[in-house]
Each structure stands twice: as C-alpha cells, then as structure tokens.
C-alpha cells in the first residue's frame, strides 16, 4: 500500500461531485445551452446539509438507514480499487466479488428505503432499478471474468494493476470489448441517458431519481453524493481497463486517472447529447448486448 493510493482515494472523494457536473456541462454546451456550473453539486450538497430532514410517519429505521448504508458501501467498494494503478488499500483473492456485492448492498438499501415509504412512485422506481440491476450484474461479472482470464489474477488490484499492462499487447481486442461493455454498464448503473434520463423529473420516466423522492436534507445529500461517487467508481473502472497505469510513476498514474475520469465524463455527456432515452422495454436489450460483448471477450480468452 503506497501513499499515492491513499492520496488518490481522498482526491476521488473530493472530486466525485464534479463528475456529474462535467457531464451536464458537456451536454449543455453540445446542445447549445449554457448549463449549470460544473461545481453546482457542491453548492447543492452544502445547501442540503444545512437543511433539516423531514421523515414521513409511515417510514421506519429502514428508511433512515438507507442513505448511510448506500454511502458506506460505496466508500468500502472504493477501497478495493487500485487507484494508483498498482495496488488497492484493501485487496484479497476474489475481492471483485466483494466489489460487486458492495454495489448490490448499496442498491438493496436504497430500494428498501424507497419501498419503506409506502409510496407507489417509489415502489415503481424500486422495481425498475432492480430489473435493470438484474441485467447489469451478470454483465459486470462477465467483465470481471474476462479480466481474470486475461490477467490470470484473482483480485481487482491485479486485474486492473500490473498484470493488466502485461496483458494488453496479447489480449488487446478482448480488453477493449470489456472496456466498452463496462462503459455501457456505467450508463445503466448510474441511470444515465440511454437507460434513464436524469434531467427529467416526471415520475414516469425516471428510475433512480424516483426512489429518492421522499429523502430530504442530509439524507438526500448523502444519496446525491453517493450517486456521484458511484459514477466516479465506474469511471475509474473504465479508465483502469483502457489505460493500465502500472508503468508510470505514482503521482503521474494518479494524475492520468483523474484526467481519464474527466474524459469519461465528457464521453457520457456526448452520449447524452446525441442519444434519446430508450423505451424501458428496450433497456434489457442494450444490457444483453453489453453482456454479449463481455461474453465474447471471455470466449476470446478461453480459446
């Protein structure tokens, strides 16, 4: 464990709210609007932290625990990623299963909190979130499987660290398929455009936003920060696959990571600017397509 990794982790925590900001700014500029400032989410979070929290009388401790569990699971998950391109703060054999499990735990807590309000809107959003997750999770596992096969390492630190850099020359095609598949997953898991439209606030079209309708004040701030962090975590995954940074010196590797994260955010903004949201019935098809890519990457490694 190096100091660089910890510094990178702190920086990731600090810059995470800027990632959705860059996405929205790119989208606005490309569609001919000015858009909110890149740092808007920081202002929103500050405002929400100063506000009081309102709880409905039908909610129980499950609702209150939701945002805390969401954020905690994401922070622990971020400990498993090798941010400096070499080794993560926490690593063990099979930690990629833990990574997927922690993401699932966060989603589970969020969905339970949504259902706990007893509102039909939130129940609908929860059902959609889980439907999409049930397609997204196998894809994530297939991506990790292809990474395991191409690097021969069973921990995220290896899969995205030094062995990955060695695997690129011989398994480049397979790894780029994994990268594309992970990018589609990023869009789906974070409710970005082809899957969900975060700009709408009509309950009928949104997936993630509708679950958190009843959250307010600090709880909402935790959830908003959590979704920004989740977006950043998936961005880190995509960047780590495409740019193996083990060969660079520590600070340079960390710098490259955040540069890459910015590029990923711009790419998401680009997708949002040129695409419309898919019909809900078509979303599984997109995810099955992503799973197909990951499966193809796996098959290429197996032969």
């Amino acid at each position: 464990m190096s100091g660089n990794g910890l510094v990178a982790l702190v920086i990731l925590g600090v810059v995470a709210p800027a990632v959705p900001g860059i996405v929205v700014k790119t989208k606005s500029l490309l569609t001919g609007r000015r858009g909110p400032p890149v740092l808007q989410l920081y202002a929103d979070l500050g405002k929400l932290f100063r506000k009081g929290t309102v709880y409905s009388r039908t909610t129980t401790w499950v609702f209150r625990a939701g945002p805390v569990v969401v954020l905690a699971s994401l922070i622990v998950a971020s400990l498993l990623l090798p941010l400096d391109g070499r080794a993560a703060p926490a690593r063990f054999v099979g930690d990629w299963v833990a990574f997927a499990g922690l993401l699932a735990l966060g989603r589970f807590a969020l969905v339970l909190a949504g259902l706990d309000t007893g509102s039909s809107f939130e129940g609908m959003g929860a059902s959609r979130e889980v439907t999409i997750a049930s397609f997204a999770e196998p894809t994530l596992f297939l991506c990790f499987l292809a990474l395991v096969l191409s690097t021969g390492d069973l921990s995220l630190s290896g899969m995205l660290g030094t062995p990955l850099a060695a695997a690129w020359p011989r398994a480049g095609a397979s790894l780029s398929l994994v990268g594309i598949s992970l990018f589609v997953l990023l869009l789906a898991e974070n409710s970005r455009v082809p899957v969900d439209d975060p700009a709408t606030h009509l309950e009928l079209t949104m997936i993630h936003e509708v679950i958190v309708l009843d959250h307010s004040g600090r709880d909402l701030a935790l959830i908003l920060y959590g979704s920004a962090l989740k977006l950043a975590l998936f961005g880190v995954l995509v960047v780590s696959v495409f740019v193996p940074r083990a060969g660079f010196s520590g600070p340079l590797a960390v710098g490259l990571l955040f540069l890459g994260l910015g590029v990923v955010a711009v790419a998401i903004g680009l997708v949002e600017a040129v695409m419309a949201r898919l019909r809900l019935a078509r979303v599984p098809q997109l995810l099955v397509g992503a799973a197909g890519l990951a499966l193809f990457a796996t098959i290429l490694q197996l032969q």
Binding site: V288, G289, A291, G292, L293, L300
Partner: protein, 212 residues
C-alpha cells in the same frame, strides 16, 4: 497486418451481433454494408504479400457486398415502405442470446476441426459464428427482406471460410460466386417486390397457398 486482420474479424462479429439486435431494417442494411466493407479488407490483410489476386478480390467484394447489394436492399425497403421487423419469431433479446451461444459454439467447434493450420486463427471460428448467426436471422425473422439479409450474412460466413484457402482457389471461381450472389439477391428483390404488391406486406408467413 495480422493484428489488423484480427481487429477486422472482431468487428465482423460485432456487426453480426448488431444486426441480430436491431429491429430497424435500415440499420440492418447499414450493418450488412459495414460487414461487406470489412470482408473486402480481409483478403488484402490476410494475404502474405500483396498480389493482384488479393486486391481484385477485395475490390470485387467491396463493390458487390458493400455498395451494390446494400444499395439495392435500401431501394427495396423504400419501394415497399417497410421500416421495421415487427414481432420476429424469436425476440431480439433471445436472438442476441442465441447469437452469443452460436459464438461460443463456433469457437468450441473451430478448435476441434481437423484443418490445416491457418495463418489467421480467428478466421475459422468467426466464419462459423457468422454462418450460424445468418441462419438465426434467416429462420427467425418474418419479413422477406430481413430473410434476405440473413441469407447474405450466411453467405458472408461461407466467404470467410473460403478466405482460409484464397491462394488455391482460382480467381474466376470467386468472381463467379460474387456474381451468383448478386443475381440471387436481385431475384429475391424482385420476389420481395411482388410479395409486397400482392399482400401489401412483406410478411413471408403469408405465403402458405400455392396457386397459379
């Protein structure tokens, strides 16, 4: 060159999967044209040295598979005013999964086939996968035009398999095959046109009665 050929073969598989997943006929045809272009690049990339044979095969393939046939199919959908494949026999998600399965099967079979060692190890599995995916499109779609697309994908698979033997197949035979497909698709286009005029749709399942 071999690495570029590998990337091109992967892109061929991606176009296969894209055609399996789309319901819009125009994107099907665009996918087919892209595939034709990729197939045209292959003889040049695979050939050990640049020969007149490889280059003319490439030019012929691009002319027929990437320009003439897609243009003709595009004309046919404009004439028949069909846009989408509605309700295929097997849904788009299921057919994509079937395609992934075909892909796995192709790689499994290709590693067991008693073939002389090819210069390009991906060629045989990709050709088998394209063949099977062409079969899936051909058998599970209802519209006559999508079935033509399926037939062409199938033929692309055969073409890919033939590429393992480019050096030993006379050029004239390959040109003959290309011409054959062109004429075949031309006839299919005319049949499609007549189905459309007769039934006001391109649904091949309506062709159940035989009268004169």
């Amino acid at each position: 060159m071999q690495n570029t050929a590998q990337v091109v073969l992967l892109l061929v598989v991606l176009t296969d999967l894209a055609i399996l997943g789309t319901s819009r006929l125009s994107s099907c045809i665009r996918g087919l044209a892209t595939q034709g272009l990729l197939l045209g690049l292959l003889p040049v990339l695979i050939a050990p040295q640049l020969s007149v044979h490889a280059v003319s095969l490439a030019v012929g393939t691009v002319a027929v598979k990437a320009v003439a046939l897609p243009w003709f199919l595009a004309w046919a959908i404009r004439e028949a005013a069909v846009r989408r494949e509605v309700e295929p026999l097997i849904g788009f998600i299921a057919s994509q999964l079937l395609g992934a399965l075909a892909l796995a099967l192709a790689f499994a079979i290709a590693s067991r086939l008693p073939l002389p060692a090819a210069q390009q190890p991906l060629l045989v599995p990709v050709s088998l996968a394209t063949l099977m995916i062409g079969f899936i499109v051909l058998t599970t779609r209802r519209k006559a035009l999508t079935q033509v697309v399926g037939y062409l994908i199938l033929e692309n698979g055969v073409y890919l398999f033939g590429l393992t033997q480019t050096e030993s197949v006379p050029f004239l035979i390959e040109l003959g095959v290309l011409l054959d497909i062109f004429v075949g698709v031309f006839i299919m286009g005319i049949v499609v046109f007549h189905i459309n005029r007769e039934f006001d749709s391109l649904d091949a399942t309506r062709l159940t009665e035989l009268t004169d």
